[in-house]
Symmetry: C2
Subunit: 672 residues, 2 copies
């Protein structure tokens, strides 16, 4: 393709965009891996966005009121790194660009939010960025409603490719955004008609503009290489009352021999073709070299927002101390001072009243006291509000007509909900929690993993956490999900036994700043097991001695959640037979593993027979049953080793042998 018309019509624009393209080519060439074609195809879009529209100050990448820029097609990460280096981001230096995809570099293969402040989210798994962006836009609306436009007034821009739009989560994201009329959300679709396997039409014939319109979006179709069209489209999108999708016709790997082909999607490392592409751009700089005038022009773009930021800072400084402190608190994820006392009061009350309720209802009790003192919470459910017990009285419904509403009806969109919650947490200022059935963590799984990887404290309220769900049957009964979640690094999985432990788990979830939380909660009613009030948060240690042996200790029963009461019942039966039995409640294996060894040994001393009880598969339990070094104890497990079945819950526990009687039999068998 002859680039002359593009080069000559807007020469200054062209040079700036060419700098992105050249850097992308050089970095991928040096790494001998990566994706050159997307940055080359979207460079014009990025240049106009950064030069004319994006509100940011390169020197302050964490300015709270910056526009957010999200690269949903994260494989094109060099686009982002090139932009950040060019505008003078303090973290993405030229050295980092040269170290693209190398050990220790901030310029990872795909953008990772925890490596540099200007990287808003972690992308690569397709569709996640666009779905996070819905959360970013919700957070902006909610904070603007709460703190006013003088403090919060920005947009969320998303670059997305064909892959993002094919992923199912994109449907959940765009239909949620359309319903919510998130007018500050602007998606630029890289309509290059190329995927890894070939042209898009081998797999897809979707009329994307019609699809977005059907979801309630404004759609603008442009030539993605024409800076005037790009500018006009962004201006129009910003003034729309709907979310906007700009369909940008582009050429992947523009100007390279691989332009408009699948090959152009990947790493373009042929040296001759690289030289030829740079020549076609009229690029004179050597490898990683950006001529001074072009770098200056980019740095001027990076400084463009400095004044706006200064003005914002002045507005912020003019606030009362209290208002400033509150804004800072929520943006940094701090908890209010009253939290500890509020949780303690609830624990005391629960220990005294000893309610027999499902832990999902316990969770609602906690939310009833938390939500009033933490205006930063935004709750929701994937269309199971009454079952997940996620809605408290005072929240209001978040909708276009009420941006102060703090409850979101996410619809039947577990994945979109999880991704949006991650976006809110990443944006800052919001503490998102959302519910569905534990079994449907399956649907939300890609975003739950990313919460852990991204180090965001999203709270997943997962109810109906075992065969205790009953008649809905095996499609709705988790058996392997606790194992799956516990296998995931940096994820705290709580399975509280009663209202007291649920309150403790919630306190820990809200105190977390870098780890997501899963609350595994029952459908069925459970007795209160923590009837003696203790101020200390025992759940924080992951496991603790709930009931000590009365006879000589021969057995330790370790249980979680709904099975703790069962363990206590088995203990009574064993003690009646003279068999001393300790019961350990283990609401969070991850936190227990994080305790020092002496504490762990105190709770689980070597010697006594150990039996674990959990209405789920055994995987993940062995460390606690067999001992951390093996050789420590004879051990058994009472739980599931198959899918469940459809029948009343009580009958299922009987049929699958998860009972006090079965536990006693297992213990006696092990004692020999």
């Amino acid at each position: 393709m002859d680039l002359t018309p593009l080069r000559t019509k807007h020469p200054e624009h062209w040079q700036k965009a060419a700098a992105i393209r050249a850097l992308a080519l050089d970095a991928v060439h040096a790494a001998n891996s990566g994706h050159s074609g997307m940055p080359m195809g979207m460079a014009d879009l990025a240049t106009v966005l950064f030069e004319k529209h994006l509100k940011f100050d390169a020197s302050a990448p964490d300015w709270a009121d910056r526009d957010r820029f999200i690269l949903s097609n994260g494989h094109g990460s060099m686009l982002l790194y090139a932009l950040l280096y060019l505008v003078g981001d303090p973290e993405i230096t030229l050295e980092e660009v040269k170290n693209f995809r190398q050990w220790g570099a901030k310029t990872a293969g795909h953008p990772e939010n925890f490596l540099a402040r200007a990287i808003e989210t972690t992308t690569g798994p397709l569709g996640q960025g666009i779905a996070n962006a819905v959360g970013f836009a919700i957070a902006e609306e909610a904070l603007r409603a709460r703190f006013g436009k003088r403090l919060v007034d920005h947009h969320t821009y998303v670059f997305a490719g064909d892959g993002c739009l094919m992923e199912g989560v994109s449907h959940e994201a765009i239909s949620l955004a359309g319903r919510q009329q998130l007018s500050r959300l602007i998606v630029l679709w890289d309509n290059n008609n190329i995927t890894i396997d070939g042209t898009v039409d081998i797999a897809d014939a979707t009329d994307q503009p019609a699809r977005f319109r059907a979801a309630g979006w404004e759609v603008i179709e442009i030539d993605g290489h024409d800076p005037e069209q790009i500018d006009a489209a962004l201006t129009k999108a910003k003034s729309s009352s709907q979310p906007s999708m700009i369909a940008c016709k582009t050429h992947i790997a523009l100007g390279h021999a691989a332009q408009d082909t699948s090959k152009g999607h990947g790493a373009l490392t042929d040296p001759d073709q690289l030289v030829a592409a740079k020549a076609a751009y009229g690029w004179t700089g050597g490898p990683f070299e950006v001529p001074a005038d072009i770098k200056s022009a980019w740095e001027a773009i990076g400084a463009r927002g400095a004044e706006a930021r200064k003005a914002w800072q002045e507005r912020f400084d003019a606030l009362t101390d209290r208002r400033q402190a509150e804004f800072t608190r929520v943006m940094t994820g701090g908890v209010p001072k009253q939290l500890a006392g509020t949780i303690r009061a609830l624990k005391k009350q629960a220990a005294e009243n000893a309610p027999k309720v499902a832990t999902r209802a316990s969770s609602e009790m906690v939310l009833e006291v938390i939500n009033p003192i933490m205006p930063e919470t935004i709750g929701g459910s994937a269309d199971l509000t009454g079952s997940n017990n996620t809605k408290t009285g005072d929240l209001g419904i978040f909708l276009p007509e009420d941006r102060k509403g703090r409850y979101i009806h996410y619809g039947v969109r577990e994945h979109g909900m999880a991704a949006a919650m991650n976006g809110m947490a990443l944006h800052g200022g919001i503490r998102p929690y959302g519910g569905t059935f534990m079994c449907f963590t399956d649907y939300a799984r890609p975003s739950m993993r990313l919460a852990a990887l991204m180090k965001v404290p999203t709270v997943f309220v997962m109810t109906h956490d075992s065969i205790g769900l009953g008649e809905d049957g095996p499609t709705h009964q988790p058996v392997e999900h606790l194992a799956m979640l516990r296998a995931t690094p940096n994820m705290n999985v709580f399975r509280p036994a009663d209202t007291v432990e649920t309150a403790e788990a919630w306190e820990l979830a809200l105190q977390s700043t870098e780890t997501p939380t899963v609350l595994s909660l029952t459908r069925q009613g459970l007795p209160t097991v923590r009837t003696e009030y203790k101020q200390k948060n025992l759940t924080a240690q992951g496991a603790y001695v709930l009931a000590e042996a009365q006879n000589k200790r021969q057995v330790i029963l370790i249980a979680t959640g709904s099975e703790v009461a069962l363990a206590l019942k088995a203990r009574e039966m064993l003690e009646a037979d003279g068999i001393g039995t300790r019961v350990v409640s283990m609401p969070c294996m991850e936190l227990f593993a994080a305790q020092d060894e002496s504490y762990r040994r105190k709770v689980l001393p070597a010697g006594p027979v150990r039996v674990g009880i959990e209405a789920a598969v055994q995987q993940g339990w062995e460390r606690w049953l067999l001992g951390e070094r093996g050789r420590e104890a004879k051990a058994g497990f009472v739980g599931m080793d198959s899918f469940g079945a459809s029948a009343p819950a009580g009958e299922l526990f009987e049929k699958f042998g998860i009972t006090a009687e079965a536990t006693v039999a297992k213990v006696k068998d092990l004692l020999g």
Copy 2:
């Protein structure tokens, strides 16, 4: 709502539909749980479909050329059970209907395919049915192309609700169906404007007809209670060259006090309201009682297809024996006689040539010999064909213009691919396999779980199975996925070490009739470790002694996949130090667990120090390391305990300490 106009205009139709409604009310009332509203809302649609369009013979629910009827909104299971009882299905008797949702009943809370032959698929997790249906329709097209219209000529009908259409997987399904112009696929959308949380508009404002049209579907909008409109729409849909969506305006819980409300979605058990609803229907039968004339009318519907089936049988009987046998073989999932010899020949060749290739390339070698002898395979990839090595030369591309093509470009739709593959396997006649990156099992997870629950032998080809993926970084590097898959009941997870084990794993995958298979394959090249040819399929035992100790046995190294070669290297180093070391290759933990205890003890005798090596988290390994009873061995693990990072693969193995040197150090530490 006054039902008189409906009752009087088509009285015979009305009575038949009322039978469904009455049975649904009675069964939910008896179970005191379930979902009454959907069967009451969709009864007219079901009645017209079964009476006038659905090709089936109730007496032969597994007739190969029947139309498939899929209840994607599976919570309305009583609709299906009522229909099956009414038409005289041999398995869903009145007794079963009365036992709705009870232990041991075939009438589970949600339809479960393995409980009765007429239940085509397991639904309940929303969106799965409609996505399965795409696979059913693909299977029909492929088999029609292969065996001819006289043998294969049917439709796939889907009932779907708002929840199904909100789920992301519905987007992947409908866009794939649209591209593939699956004209035999007809979806009836229960447009009742109600979800659990309220009216649909609290969460969604999608223009569904426009959305389906954008995806390439024919859309017909009707009153879902008007039998004439329903009939006409079905006739039109059947003649369309596109997949069809019939948008049916319905009233949930029609005629009940809870009509058109969220309450109507669930269990309607109030006895007075139940009586009132039946009165509104003009229903005179007692509980579970269907007047004889109405039952006869339904049984006539059930017998309607008997002649067509007889004619089909005659056409089948007229085929050559060979053709009959082949059709029967593929429909029952048998493997061809040549399979064993073909696999053995490949194993022999690989043992002799000892190629150093990635196991994803080994998998391609296997497919190159399997696909020619198994015309029932349909391969594909979620837009990673070149990376997953799933395409062999002879397959052709499945597209509207080539229904004999056996390779599907699924697009970036891991979830839709998995669900469609399950549909093909359920339909019968097809052996589906499909690939993506191991990390993106996350996206496919809901359908992978269902494959296990439904007992279908879908094959998931998951490549790039560890940090060995390298520079793409932690978003693309599985660490917890093996644990997650192994935790799932009825799923065989193979992590083969070389071409020989890969061939053995594929053989087992193809022989499986009730268990799905995950092949965990490397990106990076691996040496052949099975250089001594053995006819026996050693992988079938799950684990085996690959190399015996030469010095006195003090150590057993247990490894999988890419880490087996590393274990062999560590063994050499240990033996050089006089430390006798056995290496056990463990390609499939599930199959090893299924061996008898004496074999397991032979492979893993008590005594020697054990070290497991796998570039993944330890969870799931303890049973083999610590011993099945604990107390057996001092043990250690060389693997991951965090997410990965972006860097070249070799460097990552060094940095994360997954090396022969680290293994030797761990062993020496344990030996003390």
